[in-house]
Amino acid sequence: MHIKYKLILPLVFLLSGIMLYPFIFSLWLSLQDYRLTRINDVQFVGFENFGFIATDQSFLNAMGNTISFVASAVIIELIFGLSLALLIQKLLIFRGFVRSILLAPMFITPIAVGLMFRFLLNSEIGIIPFYLLRFGVSLDWFGPELALFSIVLIDVWQWTPFMLLMFLAGLEALPKTPFEAARVDGAGRWLTFSSITLPMLRPVIVVALIIRALDAFKVFEYVFAITRGGPGNSTETIMYYIYQTGFRFFRMGEAAAASILLIIFILVFVILIVYLSRPKVIK
C-alpha cells in the first residue's frame, strides 16, 4: 500500500467510526418510529417522520426563527467587523493591544456569554435596564417582541470579533500598489473603498460569511441559557427544536428527520452562496 494511504488510515478509521457510522445510523433512525420511552418497540415507518416534520407548525416556526436570526446576526456582524477592521488598520498606536481586546469574546464559552447577558439584561436585576430606566427607557429585552432580537445582539457581541479577525488578515494581505495608484489619481476615500478594497476583499468576505452563517445555524446555548425557546416559541431555534423533540419528548425518529432536513437546507444554502458570490467576468 502506498505510504499516502497509510498516513490517512488513522483519520479515516476514526472518522468512519465517530461520524460516518453515526450519520448512516441517523438516516436509518429518521425512517423509524423510535421513541426513547419504547426503545424495544421500534417500527419502520418510511418517510412518515419527514411528512410529520414538514407539516409541523413548530418546526416551520423554528426554521423561520433560525433563518431570521442567522440573516440579521451575520449581516450586522459583517458590517461591524468590516468597519472595525478598517478603523483598526488606520490606528497608528496601540494596534495590537486594541485587536487583542476586541477579539476576546469569540474565545469564551457561549453558555457563559448567554448567562452573563441574561443577568445584564434582566428587567428586575439587570444593570442595563436599571440605568436605561433612569433615562426613561423601559424595554423588556426578553419579552415577546424583543427576545429574538436580544439573542441576535448577544451573538453580535460574541462573534463580530470573528469577522474582525478575518478582515484584519484580509486587509493586511492586500497589495499596496493599487492604493498608491488611487491616491496619485486623486480618488477619494469612498471611491477607493468601493472600487478597490471591497472587490479585493471579496474572497475573504465570502469565506467569513459562510463559516459564520454555518456556525450561527447551530445557535443553541443562548436560547438554552436565557429563554428556553420562549416567550411562546418566539426564540425556538432549529437546534433547540431538535433537542426538545429528541430529548424532552423522546421522539428520536422525528428529531433525526428534522436534523436531516436541516442538513439539506444548509447544503442548498452553501451552494447558493458560493454560486451567487463567484467573481463576475468583466467584459
Binding site: P10, L29, L87, A104, I125, L165, R189, K218, M239
Partner: protein, 274 residues
Amino acid sequence: MIVSFENRLSRFLGTTAIFIAIILVLFPFLWIFLESIKPPSLGGRPDIWRFEPSWENWHEIVFNSNVPLNILNSFFIALITVVISLICGAPAAYAFSRFRGFQGARYSILAAEMMPPAILILPLFLLLYKLELIDSRVGVITAHLTFVVPVVAWFLIGFFDEVPKDLEDQAMIDGYTRFQAFYKVILPAVRPGLAAAGIFGFVLSWNDLFYSLLLTGAESRTLPVAIAGFWTFRGIELGKMAVAILIAVIPVLILSYSIQKHLIRGIGGSGVKY
C-alpha cells in the same frame, strides 16, 4: 486645509468608535468580576457599586462545590480529545498537503467540520447508551472528537503547505524513508502549527455545552454544564455563577492569545489564498 480638517475629524470619529467598542467588550467582563467579589448578601443588586470586596463566593466554589471536579473533567476530556486528534490528524494533514489525488478528501474534511451537531447527537446518544457509556468521560471524548478532529486536521493542512518540499527530499536523499522524514524532519518543523491546532482544539472542547449537556451526569459533568446549572438559582447564587464563569473564561483567554497569529492561517486551512 479642508482636507486636513476632514482627516482630523474622521480620525477622531474612528478613535471614538473603537473606544466605544472596547467599552462594550470589556463591560461584561468587569461586571462579572465585580459580581464574583460582591458579598453574597448584595448579589444581583444593580445599584450597588461600592462594597467591601469579599472572597466568600470564590471560597465557596473552590472548597464547597463540585466545580473543581468539573474543571478536572473538562481539562481531562479536552486534553485526551486533542491528543487523539493530533495523532490521527497530523499524518493525514501531511498526506493531504503532499500527495496528489486528495482533493476530494480535503473537501470531506471541510464537510465534516460543517456537520451540525444536531445530526450526530441522536445516534451518538443511542450508541453510547447501548454501550453504557452515558455519564462517562469516554463518551464525551467520543462526541468532542467529531468536531475537534476535522478542525485540527484542517488547521494543520495549512501549516504543512508552508513547509518547503526540499526539506523532506533532502532527508530522503540522506537515507530516511518517507515516514521517517515526516516524523523526524517535518513534524518538528511544524511544531508551532501543532501547538496552535492543539490549543484551538482544546478551547473548542473546553467550551462545548451541547454534547456535554446530553452525555454527562454527576460524575463526568464538565464546566460549561455546571455553569448552566447555576441558572435555576436566583439572586444569591449569581456570585457563585460569576466565579465559575471566570474560572471557565480566564484560562481560555490566555491560551487563545498565545495562538492569535496562527488562527487565520488555521481557519483558512490553505483553502483561502489571499
